[in-house]
Amino acid sequence: MEALDGNAIGGILYHVFGREMTMAQAECVCGARGPLAECEVYLGGPGVVVRCRVCHNIVMVLVEVREMTCVDLSGLSELELPGWR
């Protein structure tokens, strides 16, 4: 499956977080850091899988179950929202 990037899930992320998120800085447990827009995104499965572009570790999983979006952020060590500091 071909990887897209975080731009492709801007709508889903906005829906979940209630704001523009592609510019949020995501820090992977490997230490790599960058905007969510630059992460690898896989849309072909039952949910959305977001991976670190450097170590390819899973940083985020979003699955929609009966109109509810379940979000797993355990692969992230930090998620910094611009303007929230």
Partner: protein
């Protein structure tokens, strides 16, 4: 918005098709009327949602090809196996309606104050957000230098052909070339980028959009030329993204 948590909801709105333009045999532009449309920034996209009679839903993201201040316009390439693009490119008629949410995106966007010089690289329908940027630059009388490198399979696959004639565009046709073609006739490679892209000394701002393989090779080539990675904005699409 410093320090404040201003949460909003992105709602699905009904979009009505007000104009249809056939760009190429496989690509069509739809101008949309969306009540409550908040306006957009060049480079943003919308999610389109289609609902079947049995309730089955499919969503896809499409870049906006119109400049800020213009009605939202999407340009859609038909993918044979697609769930959404065949409807948008073949079945949809003037006055038909479907749901959209947006505008979406804060990364792959350009505002005149962001400056340049701008180097835009597009593969196939990756040219859609570039048109929004080119139009916005023109409409806002920006004096930022801009050059578009546009890779298409054949001359018939070139989207927005007439409009692009008025811009500084370098075409490459990767699969077939018309008789007498003197332009590039190969995939974008480091040598081609060296000839076409602004010098890294000018600290250009680059936008690269297209299929994943195109984006990765162009972005890597620009880094090789000395472009600052932070000034290379990338957006990938593929069969699953149906951009």
């Amino acid at each position: 918005m410093a320090g404040a948590a201003l949460l909003g909801r992105l709602i699905w709105r009904v979009a009505t098709v007000t104009r249809v333009v056939d760009e190429t045999p496989r690509v069509r532009t739809l101008e949309l009327q969306v009540p409550g449309w908040p306006g957009h920034v060049a480079g943003q996209h919308v999610d389109v949602r289609l609902t079947a009679e049995d309730g089955y839903r499919a969503e896809r993201a499409y870049s906006l090809g119109s400049a800020p201040g213009e009605p939202p316009m999407i340009t859609v390439e038909r993918l044979e196996e697609g769930e959404v693009s065949p409807y948008l490119t073949e079945d949809v008629r003037l006055g038909d309606a479907f749901e959209v949410r947006g505008p979406i995106g804060g990364y792959f966007v350009w505002r005149p104050n962001d400056g340049g010089p701008l180097f835009l690289a597009a593969g196939g329908s990756g040219v859609v957000p570039m048109r929004a940027i080119l139009r916005h630059r023109r409409n806002s009388m920006s004096e930022v230098r801009v050059r578009l490198l546009y890779s298409s399979r054949t001359i018939e696959d070139v989207i927005y052909r007439e409009e692009l004639d008025g811009e500084e565009v370098v075409h490459t046709l990767t699969r077939a070339q018309p008789p007498g073609w003197t332009g590039y006739a190969r995939r974008v490679d480091p040598d081609l980028l060296r000839e076409v892209a602004w010098s890294a000394e000018d600290e250009p701002l680059a936008f690269v959009c297209g299929p994943t393989s195109f984006v990765e090779s162009v972005a890597a080539g620009l880094v090789e030329l000395g472009y600052a990675p932070k000034r290379i904005k990338t957006e990938r699409f593929g069969a699953t993204g149906e951009r």
